[in-house]
């Protein structure tokens, strides 16, 4: 046994697990029931191909995280197996879009961004991932 000295790097870590869960967004009115239609995630990441970052959502107090539907018009969300993941962006800021399954109704929604290792061994990097914003499109349904 010996000892090693280590330093924090000038670069970001190549992590092999990560996740973030947003707060529950009620879009300013917790009493209003909304029908959520789309979620947009603006981000960037180095390199190419599918990343291990899956995007999920939860409406109200659901105990489970749900998967979005793929948006065939958007190339930055990629269906990998059953997981809808972010595509790497070569370091450019991109927006991936996700479709809430119909119907997705509730008062609040939260998003989970989670590292799920791909079946492909080379799809483990999320080098220099940077999340810029998350947007939702929704329609107010009724107030109960």
């Amino acid at each position: 046994m010996s000892i090693s000295l280590k330093l924090s790097s000038k670069t970001r870590k190549d992590v092999n697990q990560a996740y973030m869960i947003t707060k529950s967004y009620d879009m300013g009115d917790p009493t209003l029931i909304k029908k959520f239609s789309m979620c947009y995630v603006t981000y960037k990441m180095d390199n190419h191909g599918v990343s291990p970052l899956e995007v999920k959502y939860k409406i109200d107090n659901s105990p489970l995280w749900s998967s979005f539907n793929d948006d065939p018009h958007n190339t930055n969300s990629i269906l990998n197996g059953s997981a809808l993941k972010l595509k790497r962006t070569s370091g450019l800021t991109k927006t991936a879009s996700f479709i809430f399954p119909d119907p997705s109704k509730g008062r609040k929604v939260s998003i989970k961004l989670v590292y799920v290792e791909s079946n492909y061994s080379h799809s483990t990097e999320i080098k220099n991932f940077e999340l810029s914003d998350i947007s939702f499109t929704f329609r107010a349904i009724q107030r109960k």
């Binding site: 046994m1 090693s4 000038k10 697990q17 529950s24 080379h122 999320i126 220099n128 991932f129 999340l131």
Partner: protein
């Protein structure tokens, strides 16, 4: 109701753990693991880590809760091992990736069954740049008019290029002509950067000329046909055209357009295969840039298709498809951005040089135009390699045209320069050169002290020892600082490889169950599990030995795996046993130049790092050797009364001095001989010099040593010269064994006389080399004191100072005077305050006191001369220390008390004499809060406040500087319930002290205390979550590079880390950090990066320590042994 859009742009609020997720602020998160909110709004991946060095010494980090690591900078010289006077290695440039254009194959099957009005579209969009690369729409036309078997103009058939007008089937004609449209449009449709097309060769190549576009590709393009039914696409004939993209970059940047915009044709790109929900083909491998050979056509569930494409029906079209793939025949064809690396790992800080770089950037796709960019920087002494690289590449990036923009980023051993998708026109970097000229290595003489420095990191490594790493030299010093007052117990033993049993014949009480064992072939951290007496004796280890043979093993009690405390004061490190074991004594470590340059002669003495006691015990002896020598049986520090040294006659202003030298007056080589002469007129030869000394004035002479780094030894009294009772000679051959040296009191022979002094010091006091001769490594001066029992018996008065470089001085003589070399048979035998003889010396140049001296020991040092000074015996030391206003403050101390016995003051702080960091005394004990069931854990400075942390409280003290320059500590406030468990839980930041306590996380800037947990103002952590996280091994460190605090849950197998970013004042978490089996706390390197040490239990092939303690990877520079000097 209309659709609404809600956008969350700010995640800088970090986590708010343990609270209702609905109640969080808009920018907060419920969880954030391995991401960090460290900038405006955004969320990034946590910083990475890099290996600095592995010690080749077979050691391990003590499994304790303390910090056990310390980084600091110190002035130094240039002759230390590794800090050679040679130039640093010049930067080198390597091309990591040549810029490549991506190639695309356009593949068509034979075209069957379309109406003549059908419009085919082939759309290729670079979505990264929002640019259309190709947009071809072509109506098939009246195929009936063509009819099967129509001629295709000028089709080359066969590999000999024979041009023929051949009759081909209509389905072939359509396919080829569509490809022809691609060429036409791709090359000529006024795209900003048109595609170019590549000749396809081989037996299956076909080509056709395009008469309508005379200058297109030399009037021809090439189409390859293939019919291999094993390619997974069925047996139909395919026609392929290969094009090159207009950029040098990665093809993965190109994605197909939405297939819904296409009519009839499905457009697919292999790198997108992962979006398919089948697994019938292999994804493009971005690491190897290959595609599996057995490529199957992609399938989508919404096509309602199964099986290979060749068997598919798409709409009403059978056996007809359009396909696009990256050229799969070689790895080149996916394209790549140009990337270069500038490697510059270690700049010699004492070297200046001109660094130049030149980068040629292509400005067109054919790469026949380029622009040259260059930058230069002339480095300055003390520049870090980052300074040089920032200067060079900052200039370059600012000057490159925006179209061909290049980027650079720091990596751990240099800079990478590249183009990427952000570059509008990435045509590649043609070349990158670097030069280094005008290199000058600045020697010691040309450098100021501030320019000679290096950064060091000390790490506790068990057995009361510390190992030290030099960042500038990139090596571990190949020895350790050992705090033990007695050597480790060793025994010759016999080991067998891959066996836990060790044999030995000797008796050794330290070979006991539970004790640690180290040595060659013994894994670090091994302990004894059983002991069996016999012939030979045996003991069992808990780990198997890895070598066979007879080796000397070292044994020690687990208690000696103690925590160590470190404090650096003006470049010198003090290391103390934090657990205050009786066998440990605080140590001093620092770079010293032992050269004595007295008289302008630079003696060839070592310049290196040295270890000594924090409070060295001055060397003294009573010599038993040296038979027939005057020194035999003599004490090393003698006072010798001698008449007529100062030969005064009334009214003289100049006198002769008869300095006693050599022979009977020789000083001990490592000692002092003080000659005193009462000028009282009693010798009958010379007159009395009138002065203030009376016959009743009993006088003692004392001496103390002055040590480099700030230690004054407790004064000791000179002993009387022991003359042999031998009346046959005036110069006795040697002392009398039976008449031991004694302290003594001398009185003048007459009233109102003066006192003259002459000092001789042994030659080894100056020219010893630290190994032989020079005994006290740190010794730099001597002070000689007088105690006047009638005048003022409570004080010692300074009579003479000797500086081993500057000479001597006294109150009555003014500035420094040179010491005189006294030769004996051509060699220096001693140094004297005067030459022998020295005639006509002005009285004012002699150490002659007509009146009592003025400076007392107390007035000079502020401490008593008759009490213990410094941590000078085993078991003394401190639990925490800090430096403020050029004084060291030691907290929770064990030190000699008023009665000379060691006392423990868990609530006490002892401050050092100003600028003399090892000079501490019970006189300067401060006890701010006592008898409170607590003890001092840590001392720190925040702003202008001294902060005393106990387990449960913080006492903030102000320090007033008095008119006389002394300082006085006053209690400003006591804050309860914010204490520390150990010194590993606090760190200094630009915002103040940051620490973790059982009650939460705090920040104190000297004025305001902020609680960062359970704060409604920002990112926060609930009490419940914090209680689950916090433990006594929880520790923190500040990373100045990232402006973040890392709070690790544990030093053992750390599973969770909280990250606090000062940029956003928010917490996030990490799970991938600092997870070694055992680690230290944190310190910083010279660039502000957080640094820590950890146990290494497995090694990669390129980093493998040599357990024989020789240098290794990242530790390759040759080491020189430190002189094995004595420290007593």
């Amino acid at each position: 109701m209309p659709k609404n859009v809600e956008t969350i742009r700010d995640f800088s609020g970090g986590i708010a753990k343990g609270y209702n997720p609905e109640n969080l602020k808009e920018n907060q998160m419920q969880e954030c693991v391995n991401f960090v909110a460290d900038g405006m709004g955004k969320l990034n991946v946590i910083p990475g880590e890099t290996l600095l060095a592995i010690s080749s010494i077979n050691h391990f980090i003590p499994s304790r809760k303390g910090k056990n690591i310390h980084g600091w900078s110190a002035d130094m010289d240039l002759s230390v091992s590794g800090q050679a006077s040679t130039a640093g290695v010049a930067p080198v440039v390597t091309e990591l990736q040549r810029g490549k254009r991506a190639k695309i194959n356009f593949i068509l099957s034979e075209v069957n069954g379309f109406a003549e009005s059908a419009t085919w579209t082939w759309l290729l969009i670079d979505t990264e740049r929002d640019q259309t690369i190709l947009d071809v729409q072509w109506t098939l036309g009246n195929d009936a008019s063509k009819g099967a078997g129509n001629n295709v103009t000028d089709i080359y058939t066969g590999e000999n290029g024979q041009q023929n007008t051949v009759s081909v089937a209509d389905k072939i004609w359509r396919a080829i002509y569509f490809l022809e449209q691609i060429v036409l449009h791709g090359a000529n449709d006024n795209y900003e950067y048109p595609l170019s097309f590549i000749e396809t060769t081989g037996a299956t190549a076909r080509s056709t000329t395009q008469n309508s576009e005379a200058d297109m590709l030399n009037d021809k393009f090439y189409v390859k046909t293939f019919t291999d039914s094993n390619d997974g696409w069925g047996s139909t004939t395919k026609y392929m055209l290969t094009a090159e993209y207009p950029y040098f970059g990665d093809l993965s940047n190109f994605t197909p357009c939405d297939n819904e915009t296409l009519e009839y044709f499905y457009f697919y790109f292999l790198t997108k295969t992962v979006e398919d929900d089948t697994d019938t083909y292999t994804e493009w491998d971005s690491s190897t840039k290959t595609v599996a050979n057995s490529l199957l056509m992609p399938q989508r569930t919404d096509w309602n298709e199964t099986g290979n494409f060749g068997n598919h029906t798409i709409g009403n079209v059978q056996f007809c498809f359009q396909y696009q793939q990256p050229h799969s025949e070689s790895t080149d064809n996916f394209g790549a951005f140009s990337r270069w690396k500038y490697t510059f790992e270690q700049n010699k800080w004492n070297e200046t040089a001109r660094y130049e770089i030149e980068i040629k950037v292509y400005t067109n796709v054919t790469q026949n135009n380029r622009t040259v960019y260059s930058a230069s920087y002339h480095s300055e002494i003390g520049d870090h390699e980052e300074d040089i690289m920032s200067a060079l590449f900052g200039d370059i990036q600012n000057s490159v045209e925006e179209d061909n923009m290049i980027f650079w980023e720091f990596v751990d051993d240099g800079v990478e320069v590249f183009q990427d998708a952000r570059t509008p026109k990435p045509f590649g970097i043609e070349s990158f050169t670097t030069t280094k000229t005008d290199s000058i290595i600045h020697n010691v003489a040309s450098l100021t002290d501030a320019q000679r420095y290096q950064h060091l990191i000390a790490v506790s490594v068990g057995n009361s020892q510390a190992s030290i790493y030099s960042m500038e030299n990139d090596n571990w010093l190949d020895w350790v600082v050992d705090l033990k007052t007695t050597a480790s117990s060793t025994e010759s033993c016999t080991t067998a490889d891959d066996d836990k049993t060790v044999e030995h014949t000797g008796a050794n009480e330290n070979i006991a169950v539970g004790n640690f064992v180290s040595g060659a072939g013994i894994p670090a951290g091994s302990t004894i599990t059983s002991v069996t007496a016999g012939s030979p004796n045996e003991f069992e280890l808990d780990k198997k030995a890895t070598a066979t043979g007879t080796v000397t093993l070292t044994f020690w009690d687990p208690e000696n795996n103690t925590e160590l405390n470190f404090v650096d004061c003006e470049g010198y490190l003090r290391i103390g046993d934090a657990e205050l074991h009786a066998l440990s004594k605080p140590k001093f470590f620092g770079f010293m130049n032992l050269d004595k340059t007295y008289l302008g002669i630079e003696l060839d003495e070592p310049k290196n790092f040295f270890v000594d006691d924090a409070a060295p015990v001055p060397f003294t002896e009573t010599r038993a050797s040296d038979s027939a020598s005057i020194l035999k049986y003599q004490y090393s520090h003698l006072a010798h009364g001698q008449d007529d040294i100062f030969q005064y006659t009334t009214d003289d202003t100049q006198i002769n001095i008869d300095t006693p030298t050599l022979s009977a007056y020789t000083p001990n080589p490592a000692g002092i001989r003080l000659f005193y002469n009462w000028i009282d007129g009693t010798s009958n030869s010379y007159d009395k010099l009138d002065g203030a000394f009376m016959k009743k004035e009993g006088t003692e002479f004392w001496w103390s040593y002055v040590y480099e780094g700030g230690y004054i030894s407790k004064p000791s009294q000179f002993k009387q010269f022991n003359a042999q009772d031998d009346s046959t000679t005036n110069h006795p051959a040697y002392g009398n064994e039976d008449n031991t040296n004694t302290t003594f009191i001398t009185n003048p022979g007459a009233d109102t006389c003066s006192l003259g002094l002459s000092v001789s010091i042994g030659h080894n006091m100056i020219n010893g080399d630290g190994n032989s001769g020079m005994i006290n490594t740190r010794l730099k001066g001597i002070e000689i004191w007088g105690r006047f029992l009638d005048h003022d018996p409570s004080n010692l008065y300074l009579m003479t100072e000797i500086d081993l470089n500057n000479g001597w001085k006294s109150e009555v003589t003014g500035d420094w005077s040179i010491l005189q070399e006294i030769l004996d048979d051509g060699s220096i035998a001693q140094y004297n305050t005067y030459t022998d003889p020295q005639a006509d010396t002005p009285l004012g140049d002699c150490i002659i006191y007509k009146n009592y001296p003025i400076t007392t020991f107390y007035s000079k040092y502020g401490i008593s001369w008759d009490k213990g000074i410094g941590f000078d015996v085993g078991g003394t030391g401190w639990r925490s220390a800090c430096v403020f206003n050029r004084r060291a403050y030691y907290g929770n101390v064990r030190i000699k008390g008023h009665d000379g016995t060691v006392e423990y003051f868990p609530d006490g702080i002892i401050k050092s004499v100003k600028g003399l960091y090892d000079t501490v005394s019970i006189d300067n004990l401060i006890e701010a809060t006592v008898n409170d069931g607590d003890e001092i854990i840590c001392l720190r400075v925040a702003g202008n406040k001294l902060c005393q942390f106990k387990r449960h409280s913080l006492t903030v003290m102000g320090i007033k500087i008095l008119e006389n320059g002394e300082s006085r500590e006053t209690i400003d406030q006591v804050i309860h319930h914010v204490g520390l468990s150990n010194d590993n839980q606090i760190c200094d930041t630009p915002s103040g002290l940051f620490w973790i306590s059982r009650s939460g996380i705090y920040l104190f800037n000297g004025e305001n205390l902020l609680k960062l947990t359970e704060s409604i103002e920002g990112s926060t952590i609930s009490k419940e979550v914090w209680e689950a996280f916090y433990g006594e091994r929880t520790h923190c460190g500040y990373d100045a590079y990232w402006n973040q605090i890392h709070i690790c849950k544990d030093t053992i197998d750390n599973s969770q880390t909280l990250i606090y970013s000062f940029n956003t004042k928010a917490f996030t978490e990490a799970t991938n950090s600092f997870g070694s089996s055992q680690k230290t706390g944190f310190c910083q390197d010279k660039s502000g990066h957080i640094a820590w040490a950890e146990d290494v239990t497995s090694y990669s092939s390129d980093i493998e320590p040599d357990f024989n303690n020789t240098p290794m990877k990242k530790n390759q520079l040759p080491l020189e042994d430190i002189p094995d000097h004595e420290v007593s």
